[in-house]
Amino acid sequence: MRKNVSLALAAVLILVLAACGSTSNNTEQNQSTTNASNSSTNSTNSTATDTPPVEERTLKIAALETAYGAAVWEEVAAAFEQQVPGVKVDLTIDKNLEDVIGPSMKSGEFPDIIHLAVGQPKGLTETFIKDNNMTELTDVLSMVIPGETETVSNKLIPGFTETTITNPYNDGKTFLMPMFYSPTGLFYNAGLFEQKGWEVPTTWDEMWALGDTAKAEGIALFAYPTTGYFDSLFYALLNEVGGAEFFTKAMNYTEGIWQTPEASQAFDIITKLASYTEKTVPANANKDNFTKNQQLILDNKALFMPNGTWVVGEMGEAPRAEGFKWGFTALPAVTEGGDRYSYTFFEQIWVPAKAENADLAKQFIAYLYSDEAGEIFAKVGAIQPIKTMSSKLDGDNKLFYSIYDSGAKAAMGAFATTDPVEGVNISDTVFGAIDSLVTGAKTQQDWVESITKASDALRPALK
């Protein structure tokens, strides 16, 4: 009797185990996805009584929750459902998006659309690019925006879909569409400049002169949140020293490019900037303490920092010096009257190659460039790269987004995509080493050598 009981118990245990092991579809559907349809689908159904019934399709969208929040996506999804009848949008929005959608993608289930930019620590988007795992989106450019008469390419600000980020394989084909853009440049305390009667430098020579003046008053010229923020500064600087063609060559790891006089000039400037950097910066230049470095600007301990427009919100609650006022400028020019650049940071949205509803996904992406969607996004400060947007801004944003109207040129793009090369990470090599330049652990020569070495390793792996 006792034996039978124990046998039965063991059998139950094994059953429980087996149930845990199998993947059931029920649990998949019960995932923490937000359903944005609800009332809107009902209303479209009642208005569309005279049209033949459309089969309801579900569009699965996964988006990273950033400072702009999750609610804005729900609003846009609901608006899209109204615009295109018969579509139900299934949203997955999370701050750790990679962890939420990663496991189901590993087992072969992909969302139709993923809004996740390159440059995230988990590198999910880069992995998809490197594995040729995306749907081509070039035809989205010629699509008519749902609810409008314009095509997407007419509506987009020129240049955004000609970068190494959106066209990662260098063949003129677009795989990632640009989203929320933000000019980057140097942020400073405009109040302090007024108070001291200092001019904002327009050339690097003026910059160094100002650095010496400020040093006499105990203020450092420069600070950076983390070395990662040098990407925008470095890309803009490469454009300044050698123009767009030189920049493209550098981004494609052209042989000998780092030994050219233009590159040397850029390296000299960064090294000199490192020597003018506030000394405690490297100690806080990590993702947990970087706000302490940003605080240096608010406390008048350093003059300039490279950053994006999001910094205003990020430091919104922080204490600040009396009379503090945000100022924002493009990089100083290399020569008197030379070009000044401001790097444009933008996020990306893309469609995995294995998406089930790729055509519907493209339609949704086209819709994101409509005035309607643009205005919903703009309410939370997310600015779509469409022509009509910048004239509708106000406050600090008006100042920031007008940087290109006041003479600065826009730089876009990033280091070209390669097949994964084990142990070589170009961002770490180029930007990470700047900490060492500041502390003196590396010389400029060491730095350039390691960049050349990484560049040589990546060149054969270019896509």
């Binding site: 590198g123 795992n133 490297p282 947990d288 994964p420 084990e422 142990g423 990470n425 502390t439 652990a441």
Partner: protein, 296 residues
Amino acid sequence: MPFNSGRSRFIFFCLAPAVTLFIIFLCIPTFDVFRMSLYKWGGYTDTKTFIGLDNFVKLFQSDKFYQVFQNSILLIVVVTIVTFAFALVFAAILSRSKLKGRDFFRVVFYIPNILSVVVISAIFSAIYDPNNGLLNSIVNLFRNEDVPVLWLGDQKIVIFSLAGAMIWQAVGYYMVMYMASMANIPESLYESADLEGATPIHQFFAITIPLIWTNIRTTLTFFIISTINMSFLFVTAMTSGGPDGATEVFLSYMYKEAYTNSSYGYGMAIGVVVFVFSFALAGILNAVTKREHLEY
């Protein structure tokens, strides 16, 4: 005989759930790490290419990996030796001497172990802060230079700053473990040692340490495993591997390669090296600390 076969069947079914769990959640994943290290794979697609031992060849030619290896070994050595010494001495003091408020100290020493690593990192980030940190405020009393010590910014110091936080966190745990085995040593041994005129220090080396030797050997293995694991958490929460890779350790580098650099297979190769290394180190430590077992 029927009784015996029934009995073995009963044992079989009792063990089956545990063994199944063990195989599914331990053996298969471990085997998978070894298998994946032989592939070039981004982590998300089905395009896996078998490349044999290429990942390992690249790994052993990489300067970066040697830097990571050095950092990890330095942390293992420093954290183990210092934590071991402190934990042992504190345990001896708290269990042998008639100190007032012994229980209070026991609790105080153990508290860091209950705190989350993120909290500890925040505490130490504040202590190490270059401008208004606790440590620099004290150091500046004796030091007359205008550039503060960058505890988390100077490549030569930062790994020791990290070790400091790790030691603070670990001492309490090992102290409690040593105290537990010290409590088992019969009081009579100490009494007779007292009568023979042995000093407390002599007693510590001649009685206490030999009699808790088995426990010490076990903890040495714990030190290796926990330092490798904890260093990843501390690095992630305190320095993100910076400045310029000066605090990159085994697992943080593995994570960076497997995810950020889209080289999952290479990351798994690092995992294999860490696996073999920690096994070998634990084995060596076990062999060199082998002593005749003392009974009391």
